[in-house]
Symmetry: C2
Subunit: 430 residues, 2 copies
């Protein structure tokens, strides 16, 4: 056991430093488990002189991640730069071309270029591993690819973005508004200065596209993911959900149907007693449904230094043990191109919040629009009554197809007494 | 991809038949994922002529599992006979000695002989895989051994026996008594004709001992597991738990402490809002705590044909892909012999139910016994008042060490007014 596996780490942010710390602190444990010493030999970041709180002397420094990727000093290339283009993409491509296995935490890169990168990995016969790209604290990639390998997975759903889940949990607990809670999350470091990737659902969509590919044996199709974020969720929506025994979560949902794949990320109201409702704060969770195994639920921290470093190191050990396999479980050329089922074909129950002038006949107009489109009302709440100011009307409707609901909402939106664009949130039974 | 991996299945009960069904139904999928066809070539069971509902013609029949294990017709030996001794043990030993990888669902075998079997596997350089032995529907062995490989795990707890969880869930939902619900579970096939392995906690203890070994890098020490089953749980305990905001679960708990390993299986009251409280019916769940990853929760079906077959096949694919590794994550000789922390050193809160004669001074005597042993009372409930018949008194006490509590209970038990041996249930904070 004299030979060491030399690791090159590109990107020395929180996660990069976490990986180096973990490899050092657990060196003995990891050598026993991997059967070989795992040592960081070379690094790369934008600013060589910044104090990162750990001793980096003795490590070969590269200014350019592509030069690190090509360096003869490393056996494994770990990409923790981020972003779907630029240095992250170029360096991963270079490493794979040079026949070096790659470990990355970069969901944007895999969601956009996973197929060509996996092809490059297959061609070179090396690993492309990305456990840390989806829900760092949950070994979900390994669970789907290996643990559930005997199953056809028919559906999966997940709370895939800790920032959104933290914001929604805090909004519910405190009754505060989205902007207010977002600002606090930014101060606490739970949200980025530019939060749009998180709160607009893009980050969750990257992860969902990766999971769907792996679970269904399909080519990644990120552009086919329907995406809605959480900016439009009001504190009143939170309160009404509670009243209906529901909770609002940002879910990523993927289903394998005979008519095509469903891939959607949007706010959902789920029963307060459902497993997803109980996943709070910065935790992530993924539920899968396999034909032999039934439901499996995995839950853990979604991101952060420790959980993400843990996932990166798990990938490194898999490579050290020569057990990483194909990036998507089968050779890339065996993944199928699949049609997408558009969101208009979704069927389900819905919550609708309207702001209306409290005039005679307004409720008759609204309910007529629903009826004329075959949408059946379940609950109506209108509280108070104010001839001077608009009032809120909340409806829930029974299962319907989304196209019918959208047709009804288009009519409702045009009513003179309806003063805001209708707010709609999908309800999931489980 | 012309070569097929030939599988020998010993034991054709529900799980054995499930494995054969899965391998047949998913043959194409599995060949794509494993890179080689997986075919059952030979089988063995006690009764050759029994109709098992599937076509077994064309498979080589063995009357003796040892002869199957030694047969040149198979590349992998799958042991689904059960039991820690006899044919199961002999055939697994024979297969390993013959240099054949083994997949087993047999927790009793691994809990009792896992060390010597893993040693035999290491000596022959073949795999000994047992994902199906613990919580079939949850890839927990793989998650701990590979997914969390970068972590020192400090503790784990699990609902590891679906039969007990089903009984406890049904008792709570219906208010019915243990014997009544057990009889129903037996009719429904959720409990064995001889239920003692399940309801007395032995099955959960087998699984806990395996998980503890894997998580802590320790030699399996089944005899060190403290075991209490669920037979003594009354419907009144269920009702009182509910009143305190708690639920009763049979948990397996393992902790790595500086003074030794904790391994205990017993009924526990947990907060009704805790993740474990939400695991209902035949579901299993395992929570692990790792130093970098934090808390991870895995939940799924514990047993049954489909989930167990799914786990067996996952192990077969790992072997086909040559990625099974060491049975306990490291070579057996690197596992450490660890001391056990006896249950008397446990500290925690407790629930106590007493049946007493409603005489003057009885409460004073009880509370004095607690006080004299340094045990601090939290709640007392005594309802009604009947000079003719014994009444129930329920207490909860703040965190104390178990030795002190037992000393107090020994005194309480001897009081003239106390007419039954005190019933005690440990309370866990999370």
């Amino acid at each position: 056991m004299s030979k060491a596996l030399r690791i090159g780490v590109a990107g020395l942010g929180t996660v990069g430093i976490g990986v180096i710390k973990l490899l050092r602190e657990q060196a003995d444990l990891l050598e026993a488990r991997a059967g070989v010493a795992l040592t960081v030999s070379a690094i790369c970041a934008r600013d060589k002189d910044r104090d990162r709180g750990i001793n980096l002397s003795g490590l070969v420094w590269h200014d350019d991640p592509v030069s690190l990727a090509n360096s003869p000093d490393i056996d494994i290339f770990v990409e923790l730069i981020g972003g779907s283009e630029g240095p992250a993409r170029l360096s991963v491509e270079a490493a794979l071309k040079a026949g070096k296995p790659v470990v990355t935490a970069n969901k944007a890169l895999i969601a956009h270029h996973g197929m060509s990168l996996a092809q490059a990995a297959d061609s070179s016969g090396v690993a492309l591993s990305y456990e840390a790209a989806v829900a760092g604290g949950i070994p979900i990639i390994k669970a789907i690819r290996e643990g559930l390998v005997g199953n056809r997975i028919s559906s999966l759903q997940g709370i895939l973005n800790g920032t959104c889940n933290y914001i929604l949990t805090t909004m519910r607990d405190t009754g505060r508004a989205f902007d207010d809670v977002l600002a606090e999350a930014q101060e606490l470091g739970y949200a980025e200065a530019d939060p749009s990737f998180d709160v607009d659902g893009v980050d969750a969509a990257h992860k969902l596209a990766i999971l769907a590919s792996l679970a269904f044996g399909a080519e990644i199709d990120f552009d086919a993911v329907y995406i809605e974020g959480i900016r439009a969720i009001g504190s009143d929506d939170m309160a009404y959900a509670e009243e209906f025994g529901l909770r609002i979560k940002l879910l990523g949902i993927a289903e394998d149907t005979p008519d095509g794949l469903v891939q959607r990320v949007h706010p959902v109201m789920v029963p307060a007693t459902s497993p997803m409702a109980a996943v709070e704060g910065v935790f992530n969770a993924v539920v899968t449904e396999g034909d032999f195994v039934g439901l499996s639920v995995l839950e853990g921290r979604g991101a952060g230094e420790g959980p993400t470093a843990s996932a990166v190191v798990a990938d490194i050990v898999d490579i050290a043990c020569d057990r990483a396999g194909h990036a998507f479980g089968v050779p890339v050329n065996r993944l199928k191109k699949r049609a997408t089922l558009p969101i208009e074909r979704h069927t389900g129950a819905y919550y609708i919040r309207l702001v209306v002038l409290d005039q005679p006949g307004v409720m008759a107009d609204i309910t007529a629009a629903l009826r004329d489109n075959g949408v059946s009302l379940e609950n109506v709440i209108q509280r108070g009554h104010d001839p001077e100011a608009p009032v809120t009307v909340v409806l829930t409707v029974h299962e319907t197809d989304e196209a019918s609901l959208l047709a009804a909402l288009a009519i409702i939106e045009k009513l003179d007494s309806v003063v805001e664009k209708p707010h709609m949130i999908r309800i999931e039974a489980s």
